[in-house]
């Protein structure tokens, strides 16, 4: 098959807000052996639909099948395979207050974020950036002994 190289892809799935719609989508991926790298979901304002963003990977042929199989699900309204997109991911990280706060703050600022909460023993920082930059941020943050890091999964919008 031509183009059997695996590539990373982000797809948006617009679905009817039904109780089992997310289960249908994840079951489809599991049942047909497709990968999910990340998945986010939230209702679309002022509608009865939700927007699901899935980061996945596979060959061109697999991507085509994923799109078509998703489309076959009755509550799926639209499937968008992103080509030209703006893609962002959010991450929250917790650092001991004993670390250099200004250094942590500068690091977060470099990745579109900042310190969002300061407690007695911990500070919480938030950044939102492209997924590969998020990866860099997490690497760089290791220096400041984070006690917890939570990634949000990507959201994307076509340009």
């Amino acid at each position: 098959m031509e183009n059997s190289i695996n590539e990373r892809r982000v797809i948006s799935v617009i679905v009817l807000n039904e109780s089992s719609v997310l289960a249908r989508i994840t079951a489809l991926f599991a049942g047909r052996g497709y990968n999910i790298e990340s998945l986010t979901v939230a209702p679309i304002p002022e509608s009865d639909m939700s927007h699901i963003t899935i980061a996945t990977n596979g060959s061109a042929k697999v991507m085509e099948q994923i799109t078509k199989q998703l489309h076959k699900l009755i509550p799926v309204y639209k499937v968008i395979e992103h080509e030209e997109m703006v893609e962002k991911e959010m991450v929250l990280a917790k650092f001991p207050i004993t670390e250099h706060l200004s250094d942590v703050g500068a690091l977060c600022a470099a990745y579109n974020g900042g310190i969002v909460n300061v407690g007695k023993e911990m500070i919480i920082a938030m950044v939102a950036d492209e997924p590969n930059r998020i990866k860099h941020f997490i690497e760089a943050a290791q220096r400041y002994n984070p006690s917890e890091i939570v990634r949000g999964g990507v959201v994307a919008i076509e340009r």
């Binding site: 098959m1 031509e2 679905v15 009817l16 109780s19 089992s20 289960a23 249908r24 079951a27 049942g31 042929k61 085509e64 099948q65 078509k68 199989q69 489309h71 076959k72 009755i74 509550p75 799926v76 309204y77």
Partner: protein, 565 residues
């Protein structure tokens, strides 16, 4: 009108024009059964196992093209029905299966006979619903029928909690359905159709590859017209037997693992595959890289996901076969049919070289003989269902199917135990037709309790047991690929078939000679009672030709040549 949820279920079934429902009661669905007792809009058949209820509804649907309906209770009633759902799903058969569920407030508590029916059936239904409130029940019933029969058909499960069947509310059955996220494509793309037609005119060795979608779309007459007009030779899949009719000179036969020589060679040498409602199943294609290696491919399918799934397609057309072929026909006016004559001649020579033949015997009944014989005795008038195994393949190869929906079998899932209950469904739909389930000594036992159903409701179907005292198809693979180690396939221990049938209110025949065979068929048709016809056949007969699993279609194990043929 004010009524209970249970009554709404019945009213919806009646509003959909359903006249027969197959099912089995139990706690969670009892309110609905209470309403069934009170109504006379449809007949309910009590099968003796829920799997059989779903297969019977399936047989009904395959014979008629209408939606089949089955009803089961929660928990084990539902789990018994799962094989039936999966069978229908794999062959795209329109069904609505209604299951009872524990009361809403008990869902999630591991209540008695609670099981996650929508969870379990998700991968083997086209769609499913758990009804959340009485208000949505009429709409969901309407949507269930609509989804089952529209687009690429399939089974739909509607799971109804018991409390909702008790609640009383206003029943307004919707006239129409509007699901904004579900709009099947029926019309093929005009430009793509034009291009496909041009390719047909330019081809030298085109081949019509006809699948079960043609049956589902009720497009057989149009496809016959297409073949006639273009004089393009054709092959049928297991699911499409009967579409062109056995007498059609353009029909080469069935292709695939047990396809005939000419069909498989045609697919190997064609330069243009015109695929109509077929899905390139691995049992059809053999080794994919060798499949139709020299051909461009036109693929017409109502399900876009089928197109390009397994083979690369040059002319993809998403649409209903009926609409697409209708659009193609006028564009093919004046097509040069002589152009394909050399190709037809080659294929005819292939067929003369290796016809679909078998070596008959005077000492023992050959299963292929039995199939050809019923073809001669009941032929066009019969509906043939089958179970799964060698007998199924012999039926598909040797019966002279003349029309679509005459041949009913589980192709995609290959479900042993399908044939008998499916025959009950077909016979309910067409009481005037002779209905024969071609089965094996293994398969028939998987739903033999239906003898009781058939006897009680006087549904006289003939179970033709081609008895080889083996799980024959598995035995055949053991012979070829496992050095004859017959692990757990020897069925030498047998029931007394005649006594078994009689114990349940049917008739039994033990048949060992051709004379007895004819006499038994004649008697069975006259008696008009369900029967087991136990036909002793050659134990070690193999289904041939055979393409070993994963091999190229043109590498066939062929039957012995018959002298004088």
């Amino acid at each position: 009108m004010q009524m209970s949820g249970a009554q709404m279920v019945c009213e919806a079934i009646i509003a959909e024009g359903v006249t027969t429902v197959f099912g089995y009661p139990g706690g969670a669905i009892m309110h609905v059964y209470d309403e069934i007792y009170k109504q006379n809009g449809f007949e309910h058949i009590l099968n003796r196992h829920e799997q059989a209820s779903v297969h019977a509804a399936d047989g009904y649907a395959r014979a008629t093209g209408d939606v089949g309906v089955a009803m089961v209770t929660s928990g084990p009633g539902f789990t018994n029905a799962v094989t039936g759902l999966a069978t229908a799903y794999m062959d795209s058969i329109p069904l609505v299966v209604i299951s009872g569920q524990v009361p809403s407030q008990l869902i999630g508590t591991d209540g008695f006979q609670e099981i996650d029916a929508v969870g379990i059936s998700r991968p083997c239904t086209k769609h499913n619903f758990l009804v959340r409130s009485l208000e949505e029940l009429p709409r969901l019933m309407k949507e269930a029928f609509y989804i089952a029969r529209s687009g690429r058909p399939g089974p739909v499960l509607i799971d109804v909690p018991k409390d909702i069947t008790v609640d009383i509310g206003e029943f307004i059955y919707p006239d129409s359905v509007d699901i904004p996220t579900y709009k099947p494509t029926y019309k093929g793309n005009k430009r793509q159709i034009e291009k496909a037609v041009e390719a047909m005119k330019d081809a030298k060795k085109p081949l019509l590859y006809i699948g079960g979608g043609v049956v589902l779309s009720n497009a057989s007459d149009l496809v016959r017209e297409l073949a006639q007009k273009t004089q393009i030779p054709a092959v049928e899949t297991l699911m499409a037997r009967g579409v062109l009719g056995a007498k059609n000179p353009l029909l080469l036969g069935m292709l695939g693992m047990h396809g005939n020589y000419a069909s498989n060679m045609a697919m190997s040498e064609t330069d243009l595959v015109i695929s109509l409602g077929a899905r390139f199943d691995d049992r059809v294609t053999g080794k994919l890289s060798e499949f139709a290696k020299y051909a461009d491919i036109i693929h017409v399918d109502i399900d876009a996901a089928n197109i390009g799934k397994l083979v690369d397609v040059d002319y993809p057309i998403v649409g209903d076969i009926t609409e697409v072929v209708e659009a193609m026909l006028p564009q093919l006016d004046g097509i040069d049919t002589d152009r394909f004559e050399a190709w037809r001649n080659i294929l005819n020579r292939y067929d003369e070289l290796h016809p679909q033949s078998f070596v008959d015997s005077d000492d023992v009944i050959k299963p292929q003989w039995a199939i050809e014989r019923i073809g001669e005795l009941v032929g066009e008038n019969a509906i043939i269902t089958s179970d799964v195994g060698q007998h199924q393949m012999w039926a598909a190869q040797h019966y002279p199917f003349d029309r679509p929906r005459q041949w009913i079998n589980s192709g995609g899932l290959g479900t042993m135990g399908f044939g008998f209950p499916a025959a009950l469904g077909a016979k309910k739909a067409f009481p005037e037709k002779t209905v024969i389930n071609v089965t094996g000594d293994g398969s028939i036992l998987m739903n033999m309790q239906e003898l009781v159903t058939a006897a009680e409701y006087k549904i006289p179907v003939i179970n033709l047991i081609l008895n080889n005292h083996f799980l024959g198809m598995v035995r055949q693979w053991q012979t070829f690929f496992y050095e004859k180690r017959y692990s757990e396939t020897d069925l030498s221990f047998q029931p007394n078939w005649k006594a078994l049938a009689e114990a349940c209110g049917g008739i039994g025949y033990d048949v060992t000679t051709k004379e007895e065979f004819d006499a038994a068929i004649k008697d069975a048709i006259e008696q008009d009672k369900v029967c087991f016809m136990n036909v002793a056949v050659n134990r070690f007969e193999d289904v041939l030709p055979m393409v070993p699993s994963g091999g190229a279609l043109f590498n066939m194990m062929l039957p012995q040549k018959v002298e004088g043929k």
